[in-house]
Symmetry: C3
């Protein structure tokens, strides 16, 4: 069994942002030289997400609006977590909905995706450096 | 390390439907001849889900009602994604809640399930052909 | 490829409870003697969850309040599932939001975690014995 590990760094200019990282994951896969196995991609911070969905800006703004409707950033006093001095309780909830991780099948050296699947990094408390791990195991 | 890959096809007669696919996943596992490892099952389309829960019709209608309450299909104008000509923005959101994928432990040649765990395909924008991948790695 | 399987048992004194199980998962990893691979941790019951987030009590009470707001335990008649004689339909929904499973990268013999990642068992219908599987594959 082979394994390959790579870390991707992000520092978004906005508090909330979705970034298409499909190319980066594919680049990691090529470097791994693994042709059959599993590829794990996960946010290593608990106010960020990795998820798979459509690369369509309208949909991303729908996600943003929907998350803000049911777990709004403000009022900060809505959340006990913010009593710690943080203001990011909503980001913990948003990341829970969008998901921490994805596992992608690797088949014949490619990410085994359906026609519209793309991998995104979802930032919910940005403007600081955060890390994503890509780890591939297989043969 | 061995690996085994199989694709399952679905074409539901209803727009939204939950289908128990536990038997199909078990059949894939038998064909793989893998006794210790991980089994990944994921929807390859971004308006469908694979999830594990109870095989109980009342619960499935509770899921349906709950998803429709917080991410309704209509009005279509609620979602910017639908400006693309699609009418399935709600299906992208519903699948996000229900999940894209599951990983099941394989132990002694069996899906290592608790007493009530069953695998379901969740369709949120049906009446067309869609694919699920079952990929098992191990020994 | 090596694999290691361990089952953790829980019997909470409260109906709903979050338990930090990071130490237990790390203990399983040490016993596995696996240094590169994937670690799967999942609830084997469909009204419980395994998830990764912050070890902060205020945040946990925010999760609790938020889940209860959008999928309340009562009135029991809100859910068709409860017509079966169960009273735990809300627990099935809550576990869906919080997630059944996590996959953790194993690198150099450690859980490859970001600075604040901790693993939790989330109980939504407690006061009875339930099981979690920890399965590690790799080398």
């Amino acid at each position: 069994m082979k394994s390959y590990t790579e870390y991707l760094w992000f520092n978004t200019s906005k508090k909330r942002e979705f970034i298409n990282i499909t190319d980066k994951v594919e680049a990691s896969l090529r470097k791994s030289r693994i042709s059959e196995g599993f590829c794990l991609v996960n946010a290593m911070h608990i106010t960020a997400s990795v998820f798979i969905n459509d690369n369509e800006k309208g949909l991303h703004s729908d996600f943003e609006k929907w998350l803000e409707e049911y777990m709004p950033h403000e009022p900060l006093s809505r959340y006990r977590h913010n009593l710690t001095g943080e203001d990011n309780a909503d980001a913990h909830l948003k990341r829970t909905i969008m998901g921490r991780e994805v596992i992608i099948a690797v088949t014949k050296g490619e990410l085994d995706f359906g026609p519209w699947e793309q991998v995104f990094y979802g930032e919910f408390d940005g403007c600081r450096k955060k890390k994503v791990i890509v780890k591939i195991i297989g043969e």
